[in-house]
Protein backbone atom coordinates (compact mmCIF):
# COMPACT_ATOMS: atom_id res chain seq x y z
CA UNK A 1 0.00 0.00 0.00
CA UNK A 2 1.33 3.48 -0.87
CA UNK A 3 0.19 6.72 0.75
CA UNK A 4 -0.44 9.93 -1.22
CA UNK A 5 3.27 10.79 -1.53
CA UNK A 6 4.10 7.31 -2.72
CA UNK A 7 5.61 6.04 0.55
CA UNK A 8 4.87 2.46 1.51
CA UNK A 9 2.88 2.29 4.77
CA UNK A 10 3.18 -1.43 5.39
CA UNK A 11 6.39 -3.37 5.73
CA UNK A 12 7.37 -6.02 3.26
CA UNK A 13 7.70 -9.46 4.74
CA UNK A 14 10.61 -9.30 7.21
CA UNK A 15 13.56 -11.63 6.98
CA UNK A 16 14.08 -13.26 10.37
CA UNK A 17 17.88 -13.50 10.30
CA UNK A 18 19.59 -10.72 12.23
CA UNK A 19 22.39 -12.64 13.96
CA UNK A 20 24.99 -12.10 11.27
CA UNK A 21 23.74 -8.77 10.00
CA UNK A 22 26.40 -6.11 10.20
CA UNK A 23 26.06 -2.34 9.95
CA UNK A 24 28.67 0.06 8.59
CA UNK A 25 28.85 2.01 11.88
CA UNK A 26 28.81 -0.98 14.18
CA UNK A 27 25.70 0.54 15.79
CA UNK A 28 22.57 -1.53 16.07
CA UNK A 29 19.79 1.10 15.98
CA UNK A 30 19.34 2.29 19.56
CA UNK A 31 22.31 0.24 20.68
CA UNK A 32 24.99 2.82 19.86
CA UNK A 33 28.70 2.16 19.96
CA UNK A 34 31.16 4.66 21.42
CA UNK A 35 34.95 4.60 21.30
CA UNK A 36 37.00 5.17 24.44
CA UNK A 37 36.96 8.84 25.34
CA UNK A 38 40.74 9.00 24.75
CA UNK A 39 40.20 7.88 21.19
CA UNK A 40 37.87 10.77 20.45
CA UNK A 41 38.39 14.48 19.92
CA UNK A 42 41.02 16.55 18.23
CA UNK A 43 43.82 18.77 19.62
CA UNK A 44 42.47 22.21 20.41
CA UNK A 45 38.82 21.22 20.50
CA UNK A 46 37.10 22.62 23.59
CA UNK A 47 33.75 22.65 25.33
CA UNK A 48 33.91 26.21 26.62
CA UNK A 49 35.25 29.45 25.16
CA UNK A 50 37.73 30.81 27.70
CA UNK A 51 39.79 33.95 27.09
CA UNK A 52 43.56 33.51 26.79
CA UNK A 53 45.15 34.18 30.19
CA UNK A 54 47.15 37.40 30.50
CA UNK A 55 50.89 37.22 31.08
CA UNK A 56 51.50 36.00 34.62
CA UNK A 57 54.25 34.72 36.85
CA UNK A 58 53.51 31.44 38.57
CA UNK A 59 54.49 30.74 42.13
CA UNK A 60 55.38 27.12 41.60
CA UNK A 61 59.10 27.68 42.19
CA UNK A 62 60.03 26.24 38.82
CA UNK A 63 57.98 23.07 39.32
CA UNK A 64 55.52 23.79 36.52
CA UNK A 65 54.56 20.93 34.21
CA UNK A 66 56.39 20.69 30.91
CA UNK A 67 54.61 17.96 29.03
CA UNK A 68 51.07 17.32 27.96
CA UNK A 69 48.86 15.76 30.64
CA UNK A 70 47.28 13.44 28.11
CA UNK A 71 43.61 14.38 28.38
CA UNK A 72 41.58 14.34 25.18
CA UNK A 73 40.33 17.62 23.67
CA UNK A 74 36.59 17.27 23.23
CA UNK A 75 33.47 19.30 22.55
CA UNK A 76 30.54 19.28 24.94
CA UNK A 77 28.24 17.20 22.72
CA UNK A 78 30.99 14.61 22.27
CA UNK A 79 31.39 14.21 26.01
CA UNK A 80 27.67 14.12 26.57
CA UNK A 81 27.03 11.54 23.85
CA UNK A 82 29.89 9.37 25.04
CA UNK A 83 28.50 9.02 28.55
CA UNK A 84 24.86 8.84 27.49
CA UNK A 85 25.74 6.00 25.12
CA UNK A 86 27.66 4.18 27.84
CA UNK A 87 24.80 4.62 30.29
CA UNK A 88 22.38 3.12 27.77
CA UNK A 89 24.53 0.01 27.54
CA UNK A 90 24.35 -0.42 31.28
CA UNK A 91 21.74 -2.24 33.33
CA UNK A 92 20.06 -0.41 36.18
CA UNK A 93 17.38 -0.92 38.78
CA UNK A 94 15.46 1.90 37.08
CA UNK A 95 15.34 -0.16 33.87
CA UNK A 96 14.56 -3.64 35.10
CA UNK A 97 14.51 -6.41 37.67
CA UNK A 98 17.87 -6.82 39.41
CA UNK A 99 17.78 -9.98 41.57
CA UNK A 100 21.44 -9.84 42.65
CA UNK A 101 21.60 -11.84 45.88
CA UNK A 102 23.06 -10.24 49.00
CA UNK A 103 22.95 -6.82 47.32
CA UNK A 104 19.35 -5.77 48.04
CA UNK A 105 18.89 -3.93 44.76
CA UNK A 106 15.60 -2.34 45.68
CA UNK A 107 13.84 0.59 44.07
CA UNK A 108 15.28 4.02 44.92
CA UNK A 109 12.16 6.14 45.59
CA UNK A 110 12.07 9.52 43.82
CA UNK A 111 10.96 11.34 46.95
CA UNK A 112 14.44 10.58 48.35
CA UNK A 113 15.99 12.32 45.35
CA UNK A 114 13.70 15.32 45.75
CA UNK A 115 14.71 15.72 49.38
CA UNK A 116 18.41 15.39 48.58
CA UNK A 117 18.14 18.20 46.05
CA UNK A 118 16.56 20.74 48.41
CA UNK A 119 18.93 23.75 48.31
CA UNK A 120 19.30 23.83 52.10
CA UNK A 121 20.63 20.27 51.99
CA UNK A 122 22.11 19.94 48.52
CA UNK A 123 24.07 23.20 48.39
CA UNK A 124 25.86 23.17 51.74
CA UNK A 125 29.48 22.38 52.49
CA UNK A 126 30.81 20.03 55.19
CA UNK A 127 33.19 22.70 56.50
CA UNK A 128 30.54 25.41 56.90
CA UNK A 129 30.28 26.90 60.43
CA UNK A 130 27.94 24.63 62.42
CA UNK A 131 25.56 27.48 63.28
CA UNK A 132 24.75 27.80 59.55
CA UNK A 133 23.95 24.07 59.08
CA UNK A 134 21.84 23.28 62.15
CA UNK A 135 19.18 21.61 59.98
CA UNK A 136 21.71 19.28 58.38
CA UNK A 137 23.15 18.33 61.77
CA UNK A 138 19.65 17.73 63.09
CA UNK A 139 19.03 15.42 60.14
CA UNK A 140 22.17 13.37 60.88
CA UNK A 141 21.20 13.23 64.56
CA UNK A 142 17.59 12.21 63.82
CA UNK A 143 18.68 9.49 61.41
CA UNK A 144 21.03 8.14 64.08
CA UNK A 145 18.13 8.11 66.57
CA UNK A 146 16.00 6.11 64.09
CA UNK A 147 18.81 3.61 63.58
CA UNK A 148 19.26 3.23 67.34
CA UNK A 149 15.54 2.72 67.88
CA UNK A 150 15.19 0.23 65.01
CA UNK A 151 18.13 -1.85 66.23
CA UNK A 152 17.62 -1.38 69.97
CA UNK A 153 21.24 -0.30 70.32
CA UNK A 154 22.38 2.64 72.50
CA UNK A 155 24.99 4.27 70.23
CA UNK A 156 25.67 4.90 66.57
CA UNK A 157 28.60 6.02 64.38
CA UNK A 158 27.40 7.72 61.21
CA UNK A 159 30.68 8.33 59.41
CA UNK A 160 31.54 4.91 57.84
CA UNK A 161 31.27 5.24 54.09
CA UNK A 162 29.98 1.79 53.14
CA UNK A 163 29.46 -1.75 54.43
CA UNK A 164 33.08 -2.87 54.56
CA UNK A 165 34.08 0.48 56.06
CA UNK A 166 31.41 -0.11 58.70
CA UNK A 167 32.86 -3.53 59.45
CA UNK A 168 36.26 -1.91 59.82
CA UNK A 169 34.73 0.64 62.20
CA UNK A 170 33.16 -2.12 64.30
CA UNK A 171 36.29 -4.26 64.52
CA UNK A 172 38.47 -1.20 65.24
CA UNK A 173 36.15 -0.48 68.18
CA UNK A 174 36.50 -4.11 69.33
CA UNK A 175 40.27 -3.79 69.08
CA UNK A 176 40.20 -0.49 71.01
CA UNK A 177 38.11 -2.11 73.75
CA UNK A 178 40.60 -4.98 74.15
CA UNK A 179 43.53 -2.55 74.04
CA UNK A 180 41.92 -0.46 76.79
CA UNK A 181 41.82 -3.57 78.98
CA UNK A 182 45.44 -4.31 78.11
CA UNK A 183 44.48 -7.54 76.39
CA UNK A 184 46.30 -8.67 73.27
CA UNK A 185 43.87 -11.08 71.66
CA UNK A 186 44.80 -12.59 68.32
CA UNK A 187 41.90 -14.45 66.72
CA UNK A 188 38.52 -13.56 65.22
CA UNK A 189 36.06 -16.32 64.41
CA UNK A 190 34.25 -16.05 61.08
CA UNK A 191 31.84 -18.63 59.64
CA UNK A 192 32.87 -20.03 56.28
CA UNK A 193 29.73 -18.68 54.57
CA UNK A 194 30.62 -15.08 55.51
CA UNK A 195 30.92 -12.22 53.06
CA UNK A 196 34.55 -12.02 51.89
CA UNK A 197 34.84 -8.60 53.48
CA UNK A 198 34.52 -10.11 57.00
CA UNK A 199 37.81 -12.04 57.01
CA UNK A 200 39.44 -9.13 55.14
CA UNK A 201 38.33 -6.71 57.87
CA UNK A 202 39.59 -8.94 60.66
CA UNK A 203 42.94 -9.34 58.89
CA UNK A 204 43.22 -5.58 58.31
CA UNK A 205 42.81 -5.05 62.05
CA UNK A 206 45.67 -7.45 62.71
CA UNK A 207 43.68 -10.53 63.70
CA UNK A 208 44.12 -14.09 62.54
CA UNK A 209 40.95 -15.30 60.87
CA UNK A 210 39.67 -18.62 62.13
CA UNK A 211 36.92 -20.04 59.91
CA UNK A 212 34.02 -21.90 61.54
CA UNK A 213 32.35 -24.54 59.42
CA UNK A 214 28.66 -24.67 58.58
CA UNK A 215 26.19 -27.32 59.66
CA UNK A 216 24.31 -29.32 57.01
CA UNK A 217 21.37 -26.94 57.52
CA UNK A 218 23.45 -23.95 56.37
CA UNK A 219 23.91 -22.30 59.79
CA UNK A 220 27.14 -21.91 61.70
CA UNK A 221 28.11 -25.11 63.52
CA UNK A 222 27.77 -24.10 67.17
CA UNK A 223 29.75 -27.10 68.39
CA UNK A 224 32.65 -26.21 66.09
CA UNK A 225 32.31 -22.62 67.32
CA UNK A 226 32.50 -23.72 70.96
CA UNK A 227 35.61 -25.76 70.22
CA UNK A 228 37.38 -22.71 68.84
CA UNK A 229 36.57 -20.40 71.77
CA UNK A 230 39.38 -19.35 74.05
CA UNK A 231 40.95 -16.41 75.88
CA UNK A 232 42.77 -15.34 72.69
CA UNK A 233 39.50 -14.84 70.75
CA UNK A 234 38.74 -11.14 70.21
CA UNK A 235 35.32 -11.67 68.77
CA UNK A 236 33.04 -13.30 66.21
CA UNK A 237 31.77 -11.81 62.95
CA UNK A 238 28.41 -13.30 62.02
CA UNK A 239 26.06 -12.27 59.23
CA UNK A 240 22.42 -12.59 60.19
CA UNK A 241 20.43 -13.53 58.19
CA UNK A 242 23.42 -15.26 56.65
CA UNK A 243 24.51 -15.45 53.01
CA UNK A 244 22.56 -18.67 52.54
CA UNK A 245 19.43 -16.58 53.17
CA UNK A 246 18.90 -18.27 56.56
CA UNK A 247 18.36 -16.87 60.03
CA UNK A 248 21.08 -17.96 62.46
CA UNK A 249 18.79 -19.48 65.09
CA UNK A 250 21.54 -19.88 67.68
CA UNK A 251 22.42 -16.19 67.60
CA UNK A 252 21.62 -15.57 71.28
CA UNK A 253 23.70 -18.54 72.39
CA UNK A 254 26.54 -17.43 70.13
CA UNK A 255 26.43 -13.98 71.78
CA UNK A 256 26.47 -15.49 75.29
CA UNK A 257 29.34 -17.81 74.42
CA UNK A 258 31.53 -15.09 72.91
CA UNK A 259 30.83 -12.79 75.87
CA UNK A 260 31.68 -15.70 78.16
CA UNK A 261 35.27 -15.69 76.90
CA UNK A 262 35.51 -11.88 77.00
CA UNK A 263 35.08 -11.41 73.25
CA UNK A 264 32.69 -9.18 71.32
CA UNK A 265 29.95 -9.97 68.83
CA UNK A 266 30.13 -8.22 65.46
CA UNK A 267 26.99 -8.74 63.38
CA UNK A 268 27.27 -8.06 59.65
CA UNK A 269 24.06 -6.18 58.88
CA UNK A 270 24.26 -6.45 55.08
CA UNK A 271 21.10 -8.54 55.10
CA UNK A 272 19.24 -6.39 57.62
CA UNK A 273 16.43 -5.84 55.10
CA UNK A 274 15.05 -9.26 56.00
CA UNK A 275 14.59 -8.51 59.70
CA UNK A 276 13.96 -4.76 59.64
CA UNK A 277 11.32 -3.85 62.22
CA UNK A 278 10.94 -7.51 63.19
CA UNK A 279 14.12 -8.25 65.13
CA UNK A 280 15.98 -5.83 67.40
CA UNK A 281 19.61 -6.84 67.23
CA UNK A 282 20.17 -5.19 70.62
CA UNK A 283 18.06 -7.99 72.13
CA UNK A 284 20.35 -10.62 70.56
CA UNK A 285 23.51 -9.56 72.37
CA UNK A 286 25.15 -7.87 69.38
CA UNK A 287 27.98 -5.42 70.23
CA UNK A 288 28.35 -3.78 66.83
CA UNK A 289 26.54 -3.96 63.50
CA UNK A 290 26.77 -1.94 60.33
CA UNK A 291 23.67 -0.99 58.42
CA UNK A 292 23.93 -0.47 54.69
CA UNK A 293 21.79 2.57 54.00
CA UNK A 294 22.36 1.77 50.31
CA UNK A 295 20.63 -1.57 50.72
CA UNK A 296 18.07 -1.57 53.49
CA UNK A 297 17.22 2.12 53.27
CA UNK A 298 16.99 2.39 49.47
CA UNK A 299 19.81 4.79 48.69
CA UNK A 300 21.28 4.18 45.23
CA UNK A 301 24.25 1.85 44.77
CA UNK A 302 25.80 -0.53 42.29
CA UNK A 303 27.29 2.36 40.34
CA UNK A 304 24.40 4.70 41.10
CA UNK A 305 25.84 6.34 44.16
CA UNK A 306 28.20 5.93 47.08
CA UNK A 307 27.42 3.52 49.89
CA UNK A 308 26.87 4.49 53.50
CA UNK A 309 27.42 2.15 56.42
CA UNK A 310 26.56 3.58 59.85
CA UNK A 311 27.45 1.29 62.77
CA UNK A 312 25.36 0.77 65.89
CA UNK A 313 27.13 -0.13 69.14
CA UNK A 314 26.28 -1.76 72.47
CA UNK A 315 27.13 -0.03 75.76
CA UNK A 316 30.30 -2.13 75.93
CA UNK A 317 31.72 -0.56 72.77
CA UNK A 318 29.98 2.84 72.62
CA UNK A 319 32.86 4.75 74.21
CA UNK A 320 35.27 3.63 71.45
CA UNK A 321 33.11 4.85 68.53
CA UNK A 322 34.83 7.14 66.02
CA UNK A 323 34.63 10.91 65.85
CA UNK A 324 33.14 13.12 64.56
CA UNK A 325 29.58 12.75 65.79
CA UNK A 326 26.67 15.12 66.29
CA UNK A 327 25.78 16.16 69.84
CA UNK A 328 22.40 17.66 70.69
CA UNK A 329 22.69 20.38 73.32
CA UNK A 330 20.62 23.21 74.74
CA UNK A 331 22.28 25.64 72.33
CA UNK A 332 21.49 23.47 69.31
CA UNK A 333 23.58 20.86 67.54
CA UNK A 334 27.37 20.69 67.53
CA UNK A 335 30.04 18.31 66.27
CA UNK A 336 32.32 16.38 68.57
CA UNK A 337 35.39 16.47 66.37
CA UNK A 338 38.33 15.65 68.64
CA UNK A 339 39.35 12.65 70.74
CA UNK A 340 38.89 14.45 74.05
CA UNK A 341 36.27 15.07 76.75
CA UNK A 342 33.31 12.71 76.28
CA UNK A 343 35.12 11.20 73.30
CA UNK A 344 38.43 10.56 75.06
CA UNK A 345 38.24 6.79 74.49
CA UNK A 346 37.26 7.10 70.80
CA UNK A 347 39.55 5.16 68.47
CA UNK A 348 39.75 8.26 66.30
CA UNK A 349 38.54 9.36 62.92
CA UNK A 350 38.00 7.21 59.85
CA UNK A 351 36.64 9.77 57.42
CA UNK A 352 37.39 13.41 56.59
CA UNK A 353 33.93 14.69 57.41
CA UNK A 354 30.74 13.34 58.98
CA UNK A 355 29.83 10.69 56.41
CA UNK A 356 27.70 10.42 53.27
CA UNK A 357 25.32 13.33 53.80
CA UNK A 358 23.45 12.77 50.53
CA UNK A 359 22.69 9.21 51.60
CA UNK A 360 21.60 10.30 55.09
CA UNK A 361 18.99 12.58 53.52
CA UNK A 362 17.68 9.83 51.25
CA UNK A 363 17.61 7.22 54.03
CA UNK A 364 15.70 9.49 56.42
CA UNK A 365 13.26 10.43 53.62
CA UNK A 366 12.71 6.69 53.10
CA UNK A 367 12.11 6.06 56.79
CA UNK A 368 9.74 9.01 57.20
CA UNK A 369 7.78 8.14 54.06
CA UNK A 370 7.32 4.54 55.27
CA UNK A 371 6.80 5.12 58.97
CA UNK A 372 7.24 2.40 61.59
CA UNK A 373 4.50 0.20 60.12
CA UNK A 374 5.87 0.55 56.61
CA UNK A 375 9.40 -0.39 57.65
CA UNK A 376 8.08 -3.55 59.24
CA UNK A 377 6.18 -4.41 56.08
CA UNK A 378 9.39 -4.03 54.04
CA UNK A 379 10.93 -7.03 55.79
CA UNK A 380 7.71 -9.04 55.52
CA UNK A 381 7.33 -8.39 51.79
CA UNK A 382 11.03 -8.99 51.08
CA UNK A 383 10.83 -12.41 52.76
CA UNK A 384 7.50 -13.19 51.09
CA UNK A 385 8.87 -12.34 47.64
CA UNK A 386 11.99 -14.46 48.14
CA UNK A 387 9.87 -17.42 49.18
CA UNK A 388 7.53 -16.86 46.23
CA UNK A 389 10.54 -17.20 43.91
CA UNK A 390 11.85 -20.20 45.87
CA UNK A 391 8.57 -22.10 45.66
CA UNK A 392 8.11 -21.05 42.02
CA UNK A 393 11.38 -22.73 41.04
CA UNK A 394 11.75 -25.47 43.62
CA UNK A 395 10.60 -28.33 41.41
CA UNK A 396 13.23 -27.46 38.76
CA UNK A 397 16.12 -26.20 40.89
CA UNK A 398 17.37 -27.79 44.08
CA UNK A 399 17.55 -25.79 47.31
CA UNK A 400 20.58 -26.96 49.30
CA UNK A 401 18.84 -26.11 52.58
CA UNK A 402 15.29 -27.15 53.37
CA UNK A 403 12.55 -24.91 54.52
CA UNK A 404 11.54 -21.28 54.38
CA UNK A 405 14.24 -18.78 53.45
CA UNK A 406 14.63 -15.18 54.51
CA UNK A 407 15.24 -12.41 51.96
CA UNK A 408 16.95 -14.50 49.28
CA UNK A 409 16.40 -17.87 47.64
CA UNK A 410 19.43 -20.10 47.16
CA UNK A 411 19.78 -22.92 44.66
CA UNK A 412 22.62 -25.22 43.68
CA UNK A 413 23.43 -26.58 40.22
CA UNK A 414 22.69 -30.25 40.96
CA UNK A 415 19.71 -30.33 38.58
CA UNK A 416 21.94 -29.05 35.75
CA UNK A 417 24.39 -31.91 36.16
CA UNK A 418 25.38 -33.55 32.86
CA UNK A 419 23.35 -31.07 30.78
CA UNK A 420 26.44 -29.23 29.51
CA UNK A 421 24.92 -26.03 30.91
CA UNK A 422 26.50 -24.37 33.93
CA UNK A 423 25.36 -21.75 36.39
CA UNK A 424 27.42 -19.23 34.40
CA UNK A 425 25.60 -20.17 31.19
CA UNK A 426 22.22 -19.70 32.88
CA UNK A 427 23.36 -16.27 34.06
CA UNK A 428 24.41 -15.29 30.54
CA UNK A 429 21.09 -16.48 29.12
CA UNK A 430 19.31 -14.33 31.71
CA UNK A 431 21.02 -11.30 30.17
CA UNK A 432 19.33 -12.09 26.85
CA UNK A 433 16.03 -12.33 28.71
CA UNK A 434 16.59 -8.76 29.92
CA UNK A 435 17.52 -9.50 33.53
CA UNK A 436 20.57 -8.66 35.55
CA UNK A 437 21.82 -12.12 36.53
CA UNK A 438 21.50 -13.38 40.07
CA UNK A 439 24.58 -13.74 42.28
CA UNK A 440 26.39 -16.86 41.14
CA UNK A 441 28.97 -19.20 42.66
CA UNK A 442 28.42 -17.52 46.03
CA UNK A 443 28.18 -18.50 48.84
CA UNK A 444 31.18 -20.74 48.15
CA UNK A 445 29.81 -23.53 50.35
CA UNK A 446 27.09 -24.27 47.77
CA UNK A 447 28.07 -25.89 44.47
CA UNK A 448 27.31 -23.70 41.44
CA UNK A 449 25.27 -21.43 43.69
CA UNK A 450 22.49 -19.20 42.34
CA UNK A 451 21.44 -16.63 44.91
CA UNK A 452 18.30 -14.66 44.07
CA UNK A 453 17.14 -11.66 46.10
CA UNK A 454 14.00 -10.11 44.63
CA UNK A 455 13.48 -7.46 47.38
CA UNK A 456 10.10 -6.09 48.40
CA UNK A 457 10.00 -3.56 45.55
CA UNK A 458 8.87 -6.03 42.92
CA UNK A 459 5.26 -6.67 42.01
CA UNK A 460 3.71 -10.11 41.60
CA UNK A 461 3.63 -9.49 37.81
CA UNK A 462 7.40 -8.90 37.73
CA UNK A 463 8.06 -11.98 39.83
CA UNK A 464 5.73 -14.14 37.73
CA UNK A 465 7.48 -13.02 34.55
CA UNK A 466 10.86 -13.72 36.12
CA UNK A 467 9.84 -17.14 37.43
CA UNK A 468 8.34 -17.96 34.01
CA UNK A 469 11.56 -16.95 32.31
CA UNK A 470 13.71 -18.96 34.69
CA UNK A 471 11.45 -22.01 34.31
CA UNK A 472 11.75 -21.69 30.55
CA UNK A 473 15.55 -21.52 30.75
CA UNK A 474 16.03 -24.30 33.28
CA UNK A 475 13.64 -26.66 31.48
CA UNK A 476 15.36 -25.95 28.19
CA UNK A 477 18.76 -26.62 29.75
CA UNK A 478 17.55 -29.85 31.36
CA UNK A 479 16.05 -31.07 28.07
CA UNK A 480 19.58 -31.12 26.65
CA UNK A 481 18.19 -30.06 23.27
CA UNK A 482 20.14 -26.90 22.60
CA UNK A 483 22.99 -26.29 25.02
CA UNK A 484 24.29 -23.65 22.57
CA UNK A 485 21.29 -21.50 23.54
CA UNK A 486 23.19 -21.09 26.81
CA UNK A 487 26.83 -21.55 25.93
CA UNK A 488 26.53 -18.91 23.17
CA UNK A 489 24.65 -16.40 25.36
CA UNK A 490 24.44 -13.47 25.60
CA UNK A 491 23.41 -12.71 22.03
CA UNK A 492 21.68 -9.38 22.48
CA UNK A 493 23.98 -7.61 24.96
CA UNK A 494 26.30 -4.88 23.61
CA UNK A 495 29.12 -7.43 23.84
CA UNK A 496 29.05 -11.23 23.62
CA UNK A 497 30.76 -13.37 26.22
CA UNK A 498 33.95 -11.81 27.54
CA UNK A 499 37.26 -13.58 28.08
CA UNK A 500 37.49 -13.32 31.85
CA UNK A 501 40.53 -15.55 32.01
CA UNK A 502 42.69 -13.38 29.75
CA UNK A 503 41.36 -10.28 31.47
CA UNK A 504 42.60 -11.64 34.79
CA UNK A 505 45.82 -13.23 33.54
CA UNK A 506 46.88 -10.34 31.31
CA UNK A 507 45.03 -7.30 32.56
CA UNK A 508 45.41 -4.09 30.56
CA UNK A 509 45.28 -1.48 33.27
CA UNK A 510 46.33 1.58 31.37
CA UNK A 511 45.23 3.00 28.06
CA UNK A 512 48.00 3.64 25.57
CA UNK A 513 47.58 5.32 22.25
CA UNK A 514 47.62 2.87 19.36
CA UNK A 515 49.55 5.54 17.45
CA UNK A 516 52.47 5.44 19.89
Amino acid sequence: MLNNVGRPTRPEEMDGEVDNFETYTGNKALNLETPLIFEQGEPGRVGVDLPEPKEFTDRLGGLSREGNIGLPDLSEPQVLRHYVRLSRQNYSIDAGFYPLGSCTMKHNPRINEKAARLPGLGDIHPLQPVETVQGALELIYELGEWLKTITGMPAVAMSPAAGAHGELCGVMAIRAAHDAKGEARTRILVPESAHGTNPATAALCGYKVDAVQARPDGRMDIEAFKAKLGPDVAGVMLTNPNTCGLFENDVKEIADLIHGVGGYFYCDGANFNAILGRTRVGDLGVDAMHINLHKTFSTPHGGGGPGSGPVVFSDALAAYAPVPYVVKGEEGYRLQEQVEGDAQDSFGRMKGNHGQMGMFIRALAYMLSHGADGLKQIAEDAVLNANYVRVGLNDLLHSPYDGICMHEALFDDSTLKDTGVTTLDIAKAMIDEGYHPMTMYFPLVVHGAMLIEPTESESKETLDMFIGSMRHLISKAQSGESPEHFTQAPRFAPRRRLDETSAARKPVLRWTSSAS
Binding site: Y441, L444, H447, E500, T501, A504, R505
Partner: protein
Protein backbone atom coordinates in the same frame (compact mmCIF):
# COMPACT_ATOMS: atom_id res chain seq x y z
CA UNK B 1 57.67 -42.32 45.84
CA UNK B 2 54.39 -42.08 47.78
CA UNK B 3 51.64 -39.72 46.72
CA UNK B 4 48.94 -38.80 49.22
CA UNK B 5 45.90 -36.53 49.24
CA UNK B 6 44.09 -34.36 51.78
CA UNK B 7 40.39 -33.66 52.23
CA UNK B 8 41.14 -30.09 51.12
CA UNK B 9 42.35 -31.44 47.75
CA UNK B 10 46.08 -30.94 48.13
CA UNK B 11 48.42 -33.69 46.94
CA UNK B 12 51.80 -34.41 48.46
CA UNK B 13 54.48 -36.54 46.94
CA UNK B 14 57.48 -37.66 48.94
CA UNK B 15 61.05 -38.12 47.74
CA UNK B 16 63.35 -38.81 50.68
CA UNK B 17 62.31 -36.22 53.23
CA UNK B 18 61.41 -33.60 50.58
CA UNK B 19 57.73 -33.42 49.69
CA UNK B 20 56.24 -31.68 46.65
CA UNK B 21 52.80 -30.14 47.19
CA UNK B 22 50.13 -29.08 44.73
CA UNK B 23 46.37 -29.22 44.22
CA UNK B 24 44.55 -32.21 42.78
CA UNK B 25 43.13 -32.47 39.31
CA UNK B 26 39.65 -32.46 40.87
CA UNK B 27 40.47 -29.19 42.63
CA UNK B 28 41.63 -27.45 39.44
CA UNK B 29 38.50 -28.64 37.63
CA UNK B 30 36.34 -27.19 40.38
CA UNK B 31 38.23 -23.91 40.44
CA UNK B 32 38.08 -23.32 36.71
CA UNK B 33 40.67 -21.17 34.95
CA UNK B 34 43.39 -20.30 37.44
CA UNK B 35 44.53 -16.69 37.04
CA UNK B 36 46.93 -16.17 39.92
CA UNK B 37 48.98 -18.22 42.37
CA UNK B 38 50.71 -16.81 45.43
CA UNK B 39 53.47 -19.14 46.62
CA UNK B 40 55.22 -18.96 50.01
CA UNK B 41 58.73 -17.68 50.70
CA UNK B 42 61.56 -20.20 50.61
CA UNK B 43 62.60 -20.85 54.20
CA UNK B 44 59.11 -20.33 55.65
CA UNK B 45 58.23 -22.74 58.45
CA UNK B 46 54.82 -24.32 57.93
CA UNK B 47 52.73 -26.05 60.54
CA UNK B 48 50.34 -28.76 59.39
CA UNK B 49 47.26 -26.94 58.05
CA UNK B 50 48.96 -23.55 57.74
CA UNK B 51 48.29 -21.47 54.67
CA UNK B 52 50.89 -22.52 52.13
CA UNK B 53 49.62 -20.72 49.03
CA UNK B 54 46.66 -18.85 47.60
CA UNK B 55 45.15 -19.85 44.29
CA UNK B 56 42.82 -17.50 42.48
CA UNK B 57 40.55 -18.53 39.63
CA UNK B 58 37.89 -16.65 37.68
CA UNK B 59 35.40 -18.08 40.18
CA UNK B 60 37.06 -17.77 43.58
CA UNK B 61 40.19 -17.35 45.65
CA UNK B 62 41.13 -20.34 47.78
CA UNK B 63 43.80 -21.16 50.28
CA UNK B 64 46.09 -24.11 49.84
CA UNK B 65 47.13 -25.65 53.16
CA UNK B 66 50.32 -27.42 54.09
CA UNK B 67 49.37 -31.13 54.29
CA UNK B 68 52.19 -31.72 56.80
CA UNK B 69 54.57 -29.55 58.81
CA UNK B 70 57.88 -28.58 57.30
CA UNK B 71 60.19 -25.92 55.92
CA UNK B 72 59.68 -24.56 52.41
CA UNK B 73 62.78 -25.44 50.38
CA UNK B 74 61.66 -24.49 46.89
CA UNK B 75 58.68 -22.85 45.20
CA UNK B 76 57.40 -23.10 41.64
CA UNK B 77 58.27 -19.62 40.42
CA UNK B 78 56.94 -20.30 36.93
CA UNK B 79 53.39 -20.16 38.27
CA UNK B 80 53.53 -16.39 38.66
CA UNK B 81 53.96 -15.80 34.94
CA UNK B 82 52.01 -18.83 33.88
CA UNK B 83 49.19 -19.75 36.29
CA UNK B 84 47.50 -21.83 33.58
CA UNK B 85 50.02 -24.60 34.38
CA UNK B 86 47.77 -25.45 37.33
CA UNK B 87 44.94 -26.23 34.92
CA UNK B 88 47.10 -28.00 32.39
CA UNK B 89 49.07 -30.25 34.72
CA UNK B 90 48.02 -29.75 38.33
CA UNK B 91 49.61 -32.96 39.59
CA UNK B 92 52.83 -32.45 37.62
CA UNK B 93 54.42 -29.21 36.40
CA UNK B 94 51.72 -27.21 38.21
CA UNK B 95 53.18 -28.04 41.66
CA UNK B 96 53.28 -25.19 44.21
CA UNK B 97 56.08 -25.77 46.71
CA UNK B 98 58.53 -28.27 48.16
CA UNK B 99 58.74 -28.90 51.89
CA UNK B 100 61.41 -30.51 54.02
CA UNK B 101 59.06 -32.66 56.07
CA UNK B 102 59.47 -32.39 59.84
CA UNK B 103 57.68 -35.64 60.74
CA UNK B 104 57.25 -38.24 58.03
CA UNK B 105 54.68 -39.98 60.22
CA UNK B 106 52.24 -37.17 59.46
CA UNK B 107 51.80 -38.53 55.93
CA UNK B 108 50.28 -41.74 57.27
CA UNK B 109 47.07 -39.94 58.18
CA UNK B 110 46.49 -38.80 54.57
CA UNK B 111 44.55 -40.61 51.85
CA UNK B 112 46.19 -42.64 49.12
CA UNK B 113 45.03 -42.13 45.55
CA UNK B 114 42.30 -44.80 45.65
CA UNK B 115 40.89 -43.49 48.92
CA UNK B 116 40.95 -39.92 47.55
CA UNK B 117 39.12 -40.94 44.37
CA UNK B 118 36.42 -42.55 46.54
CA UNK B 119 36.28 -39.40 48.66
CA UNK B 120 35.83 -37.21 45.56
CA UNK B 121 33.08 -39.49 44.24
CA UNK B 122 31.26 -39.05 47.52
CA UNK B 123 31.24 -35.25 46.97
CA UNK B 124 28.91 -35.72 44.01
Amino acid sequence: MTKKYTEDHEWISLDGDIATVGISNYAQEQLGDVVFVEVPEVGAEMGKGDELAVVESVKAASEVYAPVAGEVTEVNEDLEANPSMVNEDSEGSGWFAKLKVADLGELDALMDEAAYQDYVKGLG
